[in-house]
């Protein structure tokens, strides 16, 4: 006698399989959301330098946005006849014993009888603008050149990369000076010059990433499915090359702000009366022995801004670049 066998389970209905796929999809989405962005954020938040840099940068952005509220005076307003102040007057802070009948100027008065604090506050706008626009432009151009170079290979790669080599053979500030020399002085031309000298850095970063990613299976699969090269490059490959770009971009902004300030210091970048830190420093540099506050504060402002980007960039690199994780052994000697 045969024992009654268990009834065979009914074949899964179409409805069921739909549910399963949906559930799988959902969990995959969850997994992606959890793993990629949260993991990245968690890693960044574990980096002390990234947090410190991020906080300083956040504060600088707030200062830039609310400059009209924070600055006690218009940065270009000459105070002759408005207040009893004299040229290059030292800082007057009531809390530190400055007589109450004198108008308060935390950072003193500059050579054109303007309030230095207001100029330093408005300078944040100019410097952040310089940093983001120059590196933004350099990243866009560098990405296009690097991506095309890495993906196309052959003579295209050779021509583009040799050109980048030549640009990198010049110390960047000197090349920027030479380009401004051709284009003419002014903030706009200085920005363009700094952007141009930074292009090779991003072209190299993107090219290296493209070279390593383009051989991977998912790119091969995309190619097999008949996707066109532009789609493969810009939709499949480039998003995967983002993290080194973000890291070098953040560090690049620090360099760009320093370079732009140096150009303005030499009189080639921002022109007076634009409240740019480098130009403020440059126009008062001969007065350093008599009015050191006019040199001190803009320099400190440049340093803090550059430091913020450097710290953030360092933190991002440690967080986003898995290759660097071995740099931090648990125990050293």
């Amino acid at each position: 006698m045969s024992t009654p066998s268990e009834p065979p389970s009914p074949p899964p209905s179409l409805e069921d399989s739909k549910h399963t796929t949906e559930a799988l999809n959902n969990s995959f989405q969850d997994y992606r959301a959890n793993s990629l962005w949260r993991l990245m954020l968690r890693r960044i938040l574990r980096q002390r330098s990234a947090i410190v840099g991020g906080i300083i940068l956040g504060m600088l952005i707030l200062v830039a946005v609310f400059a009209p509220v924070l600055a006690p005076y218009d940065p270009e307003q000459v105070l002759i006849g408005v207040e009893p102040v004299r040229k290059r007057q030292s800082p007057c802070i009531h809390l530190l014993g400055c007589p109450a009948d004198q108008p308060q100027h935390w950072m003193g008065i500059d050579g054109n009888v303007r309030d230095q604090l207001s100029r330093v506050i408005y300078g944040t706008r100019v410097s952040l603008f310089i940093g983001f626009t120059t590196i933004g432009f350099a990243i866009i151009l560098g990405t296009i050149l690097g991506a095309v170079s890495g993906y196309a290979g052959g003579w295209v790669d050779n021509v583009i990369m040799r050109l980048m080599d030549v640009l990198m053979a010049f110390p960047s500030l000197l090349l920027a000076i030479a380009i401004v020399n051709v284009l003419g002085r002014g903030l706009q031309n200085a920005l363009l010059a700094i952007a141009i000298v930074n292009v090779p850095i991003y072209a190299r970063v993107v090219r290296a990433s493209v070279l390593s990613i383009k051989e991977q299976d998912f790119v091969e699969a995309s190619r097999a499915l008949g996707a066109n090269p532009f789609r493969i490059l810009f939709v499949r490959i480039l998003p995967n090359a983002l993290s080194p770009l973000i890291v070098s971009g953040t560090l690049g902004i620090a360099g760009a702000i320093l370079e732009a300030a140096a150009l303005s210091f030499l009189g080639l970048g921002a022109q007076p009366p634009t409240p740019e830190w480098g130009s403020m420093l440059g126009s008062e540099r001969n007065q350093v022995f008599t009015a050191p506050h006019l040199v001190f504060y803009p320099g400190i402002a440049i340093m803090i801004t550059v430091l913020a980007f450097n710290l953030l960039g360092d933190g991002l690199r440690d967080a986003l670049d898995p290759r660097l994780s071995f740099n931090k052994p648990e125990q050293t000697l």
Binding site: S49, R162, L163, D165, V166, L167, A169, F170, P171, S172, L173, L174, L175, I177, A178, I179, N181, V182, G184, A254, L258, A261, A262, F265, L266, G267, L268, G278, L281, R285, V288, F289, P292, V295, F296, P298, G299, I302, M303, I304, V306, L307, N310, L311, D314, F326, N327, K328, P329, T332, L333
Partner: protein
């Protein structure tokens, strides 16, 4: 080895060609009439026509580029507009100071940066590590010219009448003259000969000249004048070297053979300095080579602040005065120096790390 050097030299040729092309194109792109730019607004048409013919500016651009390369190869960079003297002579007068300043700054950067990085790595995550790395981060974020001005303010004004006073500008105290070594040793050469220019070049390096002539008074005075600019100039390279040494050392210190060395009972300083440091040196060395660009670019700013008559300040003055031949020649010389230095670093890897076999 020799083959490798030759191959690297050949590979550098396209880059050098590119540098020549860029400086040529940059000079040609300058807006305005070259004749009016060089001879002045009052130059008549006749004079201009002759000038254009003499300088080959009426020839096709590729031919002009050929002429430019030929002149550069002969060391002929044309005449300065402002000084009406050959640019090459000005270069001989100005380059030695920048070389000395750059050398002292790089030396300081290495001598301070490497120990900083070493300490930081050996005592990682300690107070020492945090302090050195905060210092390095601040150092890399400071504008060179601002630091220079602040140093001048502190050491030349605030510390006046103390033993720490340092001069804020110039190469030598007024009244002191550096006697060229060829006069001290009665070496003769024809004026304007190649030998004469080489002598001049060496004599213009005041530190070296005073060393070989045993003139200690000039030497100490020249060193005093160079301290502040060199300190200002060395901050960024020093910070970068310290950071690179730290990360490179951390990587090596985590390797198995270091643990083995410690396990077999070798003292810690010996393991750090002999086993780890030598292996960690390669990336540090690369970064030192790359800092030459920072030093040259920084020289433009430092020399301007400290009133030093070097290549950097001359370049800045030439840009302000639109003295194009000087701008073109000085940019070219600096770029070639930069490429040459990096080539030297590449080649010297083989001496530092015998694991690298140059093919």
């Amino acid at each position: 080895m020799f083959q490798y050097v030759i191959r690297r030299l050949i590979l550098a040729i396209p880059v050098l060609f590119g540098i020549l092309l860029v400086t040529f194109v940059l000079a040609r792109l300058i807006p305005g009439d070259p004749c009016k730019a060089i001879l002045g607004e009052k130059a008549t048409q006749q004079v201009c026509e002759r000038f254009i013919r003499e300088h080959g500016l009426d020839k096709p651009i590729p031919v002009q580029f050929g002429i430019y390369i030929r002149n550069v190869a002969r060391g002929d960079f044309g005449n300065s507009i402002r000084f009406s003297r050959p640019v090459s002579i000005i270069l001989i007068e100005r380059l030695p100071l920048t070389l000395e300043l750059g050398f002292i700054a790089t030396l300081l950067a290495v001598l301070i940066g490497i120990p900083m990085g070493l300490l930081s790595a050996v005592y990682s995550n300690s107070v020492v590590d945090v302090t050195t790395m905060v210092t390095a981060n601040i150092g890399v974020s400071m504008p060179v010219y601002w630091l220079g001005l602040m140093l001048a303010y502190v050491f030349a004004l605030t510390l006046k009448d103390t033993p720490f006073w340092l001069p804020p500008s110039g190469r030598l105290t007024a009244g002191l003259v550096s006697v060229p070594f060829y006069q001290v040793y009665n070496l003769t050469s024809q004026p304007d000969s190649f030998k004469f220019h080489v002598y001049e070049f060496i004599a213009n390096m005041y530190l070296f000249n005073s060393l070989i002539t045993f003139d200690w008074r000039i030497l100490s005075d020249a060193v005093q004048h160079l301290i502040l600019p060199a300190v200002a100039l060395c901050t960024i390279p020093m910070s970068i070297i310290a950071r690179m040494t730290r990360s490179s050392m951390l990587e090596v210190l985590g390797l198995d053979y270091i643990r083995t060395a410690r396990a077999k009972g070798l003292p810690k300083p010996k393991v750090v300095l002999k086993h780890a440091f030598r292996n960690a040196l390669l990336p540090v060395f690369t970064i030192i080579g790359l800092q030459l660009g920072t030093v040259f670019a920084g020289a433009v700013l430092t020399e301007t602040i400290f009133g030093l008559a070097g290549v950097g300040r001359m370049l800045f003055e030439a840009i302000t005065a639109r003295d194009y031949p000087i701008v073109q020649a000085f940019t070219l010389v600096i770029a070639i120096g930069y490429v040459g230095m990096n080539l030297l670093v590449d080649v010297s890897y083989v001496f530092i790390d015998p694991r690298i076999k140059l093919k």
